[in-house]
Amino acid sequence: MQNPGMLARTVDVVKPTLATLAMLVACGMPDEPYFGRVDRLEPGHFRWCNSGEPDFLDPARASSTTSAPVITALFDGLTTYGMDGLPVPSLATHWEVDEALRIWTFHLRHGARWSNGREVTAYDVAFAAMRVVHPLTGSPNSDNLAPLENATGYLTRKTLAVRATGEVVTVVDDALPDLAARTASAPLALRDLGAAVDASYARVPAGATVTLIATSGTTISPPAPDGRPWAYVFWPRDVEGVFGWIPARELTGEPNGDVEAHVTRADGTPATLHGRDLAHAPEVLGIRVVDPYTIVFTCKDPTPFFLAATDNRALRTTPTEAVSRWPNAWTRPEHVITSGPMHLVAWHERDRLELVRSPTYWNPTEVTVDRITVLSMDDQAANANTYYTGGCDATAANNVPASYLPVLAGETRGRAYRDYSVSPYLGIYFLWINTEKLTDRHLRRALALAVDRTQVPRFTHGSEIPSAQLTPGTPIAQLSPADRAACGVTATTPGIALVMIAGALCYVPPPGLDFDLARARAEVALARAAGGVPAKLRYIYNAGSEAHKQIAEYLQASWAAIGLDVELEAQEWNAMLEATKQGDYEIARLGNLGNVADTESEFLPLFRCHTPDNRGRYCNPAYDQLMDEARTIHDRPARNAKLRAAEALMIEDAPVIPIYVYTQKQLVKPYVKNYAINVIAHPPLWRVAIDPAWNTRPAP
């Protein structure tokens, strides 16, 4: 759901085109079936060339693609990523949803354990979710939980609870002092819930101010063993700060208790209350732990795609005891407590991570390797060279420089390497059109119709899938018969389809405005007649990539062919994001990557009026209407039909020009088994096996 800054990482300001002459050598190599050495395998040890250093290993704070597969391996979730990238049961064994698609109930397995031996319970899931939406965390993944009741209000501190009644109210005032501030009457001994004073790990001096986060025995916190109310507080000591539990009675002072707050009650009536009557409490969230093995999420609207949010970072379990002691550094090997199939033992910054099989994981038979080394190299050539020399066993998606692609694909020697593959990636390369500047949709359509997308892979060499359809997926010609049946298409149907549940559910995007020069000219003529064609248009793209530049040059020539004068302008990535956000452009290159195979949450929301990332400022109430209608439909094929109608309506208005579906290029040594290649490029690393006897068997 969240965009993990993927696009940001693929286009550094300075990405020297690190030409790799290594390939000159590869051209002259003997005619090997595999790319590089296959004799350096280590039994039980999987070495993976990741595409860079993970930004964080804390699920609440990570947002990069480089951290995702590692976090999945370290921290268990209600569901986890299957081989095809779709959620499969993990911590939750089964779940149900109510008729209105709003209330999701998950049933957890008994006996799952943290690496310190404690049982993983629903409270751990609730704690992780609460932390993601708490304003102090500043989590980039909060939007994943935005469908939950009051999640956004809790994040902005606008939705509070009336302490006496538990009633939920909304603050009207713009800036209120922190109502959760408390002063310590006596020194506080921060500790785990219910622990003795001498087990404390931090001492707050008397008179210091702390922030009250939660209390014990509520819908999301376990009751204290002594049956009394305890409080979970944050003390902003030094840069990191520290969290901890204390008996609630030790918190006496309330510095902002007298503040008057103007609020709106649930029924819409205004009221004025005092700070001491209100609480910024996690109980307002649509999260409820029924018992240690049952958790219920309540969404404010029908949310059929909520299940897809349960495997990603926002709902991965996090260990309260470690997070409390070291809020920033708890994922360091010396502090970390894990719940997933692997455990972290070493983290060498910008070099590598060392993971070992976790002895406490609930499903040990699933893991056949003892150790996984994740190399954190961010240069494609370095990764491919390391793979070539046998320094790693597989590379993360698209870890191959453009200059290697023709060689790997066999252009130079007539046949491709067997350990190389290209497959579709859930992402679309497109151009935004600023609809506030180019108001004439005939002009916008003309821009879309004038581009022959099939020519693009000829010069980018990336084997991209040319597409005029917005929702990305797999070319229909490549689908399995079962998937084709689910999609309701035949092998000869042109275009692409997005498989949502293998062999069962599929979304076929409507055809877009594909190359048609005659129609493009006609549309330009219509636009000219209406006076809607500026003398010069400006196309902006991010500097630093040869491919973006070549595409820009190609588009410029395509548009010149229908008489449109377009000027190219390269901008630095951040500057371009800012310019597109401010609407200071006419046409801009961008793209969108999805984390879930569902266009409803990943691609179509971009075009709703006033959504934050609607850079084309496109707003068509009819489109929003269709999207809203789709949301209430329980039957998924019917729902997809509605979404398709919405997409068709939007694409005819041409606020966006899709160019191609991204592809992922993968290198996987022949002795690596069970390495998943799926549309979201998220391999479950712990399922990988190393087969030392691979070449003693006859080749397939």
Partner: protein, 276 residues
């Protein structure tokens, strides 16, 4: 003043290249070849009779692109080197000859500019002034390439400041500026000229780097720097995309260097006297 044979030969080579870049595209245009026509069906063809340098991946004639790129590259290299020479030499000479606090302050300014985050400056210049012009490019490259020149000049002048012939000039009451520019600098010029020639290839690559950031040469226009950068990503399959602009750039730099060597020998008072 006489240039050596090597320098003369190189001057001819440089002249031919510069002239080729200037009029070459016009001649090619007469034969219907230009630098902008895109034809992906004829992309990435190796050098042939029709396209002497081959075509790039978008099917454009590489020779014409190299010639047009040469105009910008040579202009940038020569103009910014002259700017850098003028500022750097004066700055360094004045600082060294005056000495004391003036020297300290002037050289600390140089230090501060060295430590300056240039890339950020470029980003800010681009966004604040919304400029993509070549003038801004010249100004920025000029602004960052005079610093080493100033330090080298200073080092040379320091060594000569108290030389006997300078003392003599001072004793004769020659004004300070005249001593610096007529007596000291000609003797200090050797390393300065050498550094100036060293700066040229760096300037061409800096230009490519700034174009990379979006300042300066905008697509579909190209310079040698951008062509080399572009070609280096295609070296495996289409080596001529790097080799052709690379050779053009290399030969030009080589020629300019030997010309400057000749100039240096011709200008140096000591070598002149020794030879005579």
């Amino acid at each position: 003043m006489r240039l050596g044979r090597m320098a003369l030969g190189c001057a001819v080579v440089f002249g031919v290249i510069a002239l080729g870049c200037l009029v070459g595209p016009l001649i090619a245009g007469a034969f219907g070849v230009d630098a902008t026509t895109i034809d992906t069906l004829r992309g990435a063809q190796p050098p042939s009779g029709a396209h002497w340098f081959g075509t790039d991946t978008l099917g454009r004639d590489l020779l014409v692109r190299v010639m047009i790129g040469g105009r910008i590259a040579i202009l940038v290299a020569v103009v910014t080197t002259v700017i850098a020479l003028a500022i750097g030499v004066s700055w360094g000479a004045i600082a060294a000859y005056t000495g004391g606090h003036v020297d300290n302050v002037m050289m600390r300014v140089v230090d501060a500019l060295y430590g300056f985050p240039t890339v950020v400056l470029v980003i800010v210049v681009m966004s604040v002034f919304e400029t993509r012009s070549l003038v801004a490019l010249f100004a920025l490259i000029g602004a960052i390439s005079w610093l080493t020149m100033a330090r080298i000049t200073r080092g040379q002048v320091l060594a000569l400041r108290d030389a006997e012939f300078v003392e003599a000039a001072r004793a004769l009451g020659v004004p300070a500026w005249r001593i610096v520019f007529r007596h000291v600098l000609p003797n200090a010029f050797g390393p300065v000229i050498v550094y100036a020639t060293l700066a040229m290839p760096q300037v061409m690559l800096t230009e490519a780097f700034l174009s990379f950031l979006g300042l300066g040469v905008q697509a579909p226009l190209a310079s040698w720097g951008t062509l080399v950068t572009e070609g280096s990503s295609q070296i495996v399959v289409y080596p001529w995309l790097l080799v052709c602009p690379g050779l053009a750039m290399g030969v030009t730099i080589m020629a300019l260097n030997f010309i400057c060597d000749g100039l240096r020998d011709a200008l140096d008072p000591r070598t002149r006297t020794r030879r005579s």
